[in-house]
Amino acid sequence: MYSHASESLIKQAREIQESELQKFYSRLMKMLQGKELGHDTVDSLQRLHLILSATKYTRTLPLELQKRFVALLSSPAEQHQVLSAAVLRETLPLTGQELNYNQDNLGQLNSHAAGLLLSQAVSRGDLSSLCTQLLRNLESRPSEGPTHSLMHTLPVLNSVLTHSPECLSEDQMTLVSKKLVDWLRYASVMQGVGTSSGGFFTGPRSRQPVPIAELDGSVSGDFFTVLCVGQGFTEDQWMNVYSFSMLRHWLLTYHSSCSTTVDAANRLQLSLSLSHSHSFSNDDRSEVDGSVVSMVSATSSSSRLLPPKERLREKAFQYCQRLIEQSDRKAHKKTDTELQKACLVEAVCILDCVCVEDASLVYRTFPCIKALFGRLSSELSYARVLLPIAQFYLNHGEIAAVDCENVWKVVFGRFPTELFNDPFLAHELLRFLRLNLESIELRVPQYTRYFPNLLKFLAWDSPAMVDDFVDLLPSMVTTGTAVELLHTLLDLPCLSATLVLQHRSTCLPISEPVGRNFVSLDAFRNPSFRGLFLFLLRTEAGSGDTMDRLSTLHELLVEAADWPRVTQCARTVPVLLHVFFNTIVTIADEKLLAHLILVMLERSSLLLNIPAYIKEIHRVFSCHLLRLCKLHPSLVVNQSHELLEFAGSTANVYSKEELFTHVVWVLGEYLSVSCDSRCSVSLITSCFEALEAVLFEITSSAPPTGTVCPAPKVINTLMSALAKLASRSHDLIPRVSLFLSKLRTVTRSGSVAWCSDEEDLVAIVTRGEELWSLLKAPGVAQSVLTPPPHVIAPQWHRDTNEMSAYSYYMRPGIVMQQEEASTHCTIVGSVGSKGFIPTPTLPVECSLGSKCLSVRQHQQQ
């Protein structure tokens, strides 16, 4: 498809020499002077366009040539218009006076020239005057001009409104509203002959006018809509299409802001009386040209009484009701079936829009919306139509006192379950959630229960969905869902794998033998494992935080570890975990946080076996463990049993180095009476003994086969933790000192089995010596290793802003002091502002050696 030839063409276009280009320009100039533009000219124009557009640098055409192109814009041949517009789009617009051409010719401004004018508008003034001209064209019946001159008016107008809605005056808005009413509601109901026969009364007598038809072929009995077909169309039927296509945007732009409740009561009365009158009405006709009266209309009205805006609203309402009726017809063409769906979406959105403006319409609209929901809710192929319906229920269900439960069951229950692999539905559903989050949290509080289901979108197509979930996840984190949500996020790669299996399972019939690559597919179909997969695939939360046989599940899914979909999913989990923890600290009490710490410790060894994934999760856990403990230091005493169990296992040094280091650090830092009065001497001693045993073990033998030597930061952290604990219970000091002196003796020989790098070893020994000498003065050691709170968070000033700036300034200073004294171990934290949570750092290790500094940089990422 994309060939080398194309690539080299672009290269040539970019690298063309200036002299060559000038020759090309003059050749073109000659060609354009001829009366007829031949093939060669067209070809050259196209090449010129390529030369201009291929580079991001602007090339300037000779003025004469540019003027030629401007003249060519109004050439009768469309090809010339297109080519000149394309060339001019890539050049700079002519300045001031040369622009006059636009004003003179605006009457016959063709679509391509209008597009150029739009794209080169430089001010709101330009757009305003363009609007004025276009509307003047609309006003005068344009029987003389070609059909298209009127047809492109609405799209151009709509394009201007998108960027600059204030371009239209009140009168102009009224004019357009009236015109829209006319085209929407009173377009000809007879088929046009050919595409440009125009006019309502031009049908020659010789030919009997044929009424328009519905999509199923039956004769249409009501007014014309975009779902009507014929052999040809009249101009006003075309305008009907253009009008409906821009209607919603028009209503959103000009109506919502002007909605008032002044005469709401009057309107309510009127609309109630209208909804009861189903009689035919003769005054229902076009206000502007008195066109053909639609003979049959389900909801006819005496809406001429209404001011233009309300009248348009009323007509839009009728139009949408008719579209909804028409969408029930069986279309002959597949593309028309798709169009029916798109029309339903638009119709429901417009109905929602008019109901937002005028609440009295809610009562007239709801029966139809309810019926539509009843008709479509069981058909998955209409899922995307049901989203605007859900929006309608969300916006108006309360006013109309309608039960919405079934809607939410379909939207949050059935859709993610069965349509998790539809990228468009996923995008629209998540956008619906994002845009209405406040309202949903208020009116559909049960929404958070569906998080296991909603996460299927993420598990299936993580790269496309992660952005939405970063926004949505905080709303799903509640004290009730937190624990289950954490487990679910950690098992997201498993869910991803399970969805792949489910997908394959439905694609491959049961009888088909599965390839050798799909061992897990057998497991998926095996009834004895059914429960495991069903738990992952659950729709709602609340059936348990996690499952018993998680490790079995991970074994079954081991082959999924390198499926691209699963690895993509695994890459997004850390991001979401950060969002999760950032949210949870704002809402959780200490009890819940303690529970989450347990989950972290437990799940650190219970993850789907993707090495990079496990490593990343450990990193996230480490970061947030530190943060939680910093926020609530008493958590450490509270959970000391579990933390100790984790830190007391030598195996964790090798398999979960990052997390292990952090657990040891929080134990050393926060297991102290100053953090929690329940912290007893015996607790400190038992912690000390556990850590001492681990440190002894890893520094007395080579690492187990298959693992590497522990990083120096692990050993440093262990030593520091022991020293800190000893400084709080002086009986322990001789034991640390003994260990540290042994360490020095052992390493004197040069190399040890547990540390392969000489520099690392030196760093460790230096560290040990520092701690040793510090512990020689127990009183000093205590105040340095367990500094009182006013040292950790000194509040020299009360002004937060000033002090936070000061703290940054101080930071390097403190670190430097530590290095000088070689003994300081205070936290380099926030100064002056208690609310500020500093980036987790491991200050003890940070102050030492360049290798250890990297730890801190890592943490700060």
């Binding site: 991001k56 945007h249 593309t335 798109a342 979406v345 638009e346 995307r384 952005d467």
Partner: protein, 200 residues
């Protein structure tokens, strides 16, 4: 409204660094949103043009990543099709949506609908309230016409040398970025006009 339509590569191009995409056709509709914002008023026309090109390139890059990731995940093999098999190529195309956050690159949040046909991506950037079901249909229709009228399944470079054909297609099927509710009869009548143009 549709903000822009572009055709770009979604496969590695030898002269570009990995992850880059070559934009073969792009059309931004309507006035430039920066013209009307105070912040960019002082920009010169050259700078504005450059900024617009960069925005289009940013969209192309994001879509290119989305297509690669989606293809990697689905593990489907790309079936090469020959000229004449446009419908088959279209059926086989990958599709999806990329959410473009506000400011990245357009001032408002937008949705980029994409269709990946072999080595090329066809992308429609839609404004927030746009009817995406209609946009999706329009994108498929546009793509089919582009494939057919510019013989894009072949080896030629008509997408570069006959881009006026795409301009004409857009002027009918997506005039000034306006998505149209066209039933098959309306569509046929527009297609006749397009065919008449192409025949010249």
């Amino acid at each position: 409204m549709v903000r822009c339509f572009l055709i770009h590569t979604v496969c590695p191009v030898s002269t570009l660094s990995a992850g880059e995409s070559r934009v073969l056709y792009s059309r931004v509709f309507g006035p430039d949103d920066r013209v009307l914002s105070e912040r960019h008023r002082e920009l010169s026309p050259e700078e504005r043009r450059l900024l617009q090109k960069e925005k289009v390139a940013a969209v192309a890059r994001q879509v290119r990543s989305a297509v690669s990731l989606s293809r990697e995940a689905s593990g489907r093999l790309i079936v090469e099709t020959m000229p004449g098999e446009e419908n088959l190529a279209l059926q086989d195309a990958d599709c999806g949506v990329v959410r473009l956050r506000a400011g990245d690159p357009f001032s408002e949040e937008t949705s980029a609908l994409w269709l990946g046909v072999q080595s090329l991506g066809f992308t429609l950037v839609c404004e927030p309230h746009e009817n995406l079901l209609l946009a999706e249909g329009t994108l498929r229709n546009l793509t089919r016409h582009c494939l057919e009228h510019l013989h894009m399944l072949g080896q030629g470079s008509e997408v570069l040398l006959k881009s006026n054909r795409i301009d004409v297609l857009l002027s009918r099927l997506l005039p000034h970025g306006q998505l149209l509710f066209l039933n098959h009869r309306f569509a046929q009548s527009l297609e006749k006009e397009v065919a008449a143009y192409m025949a010249k």
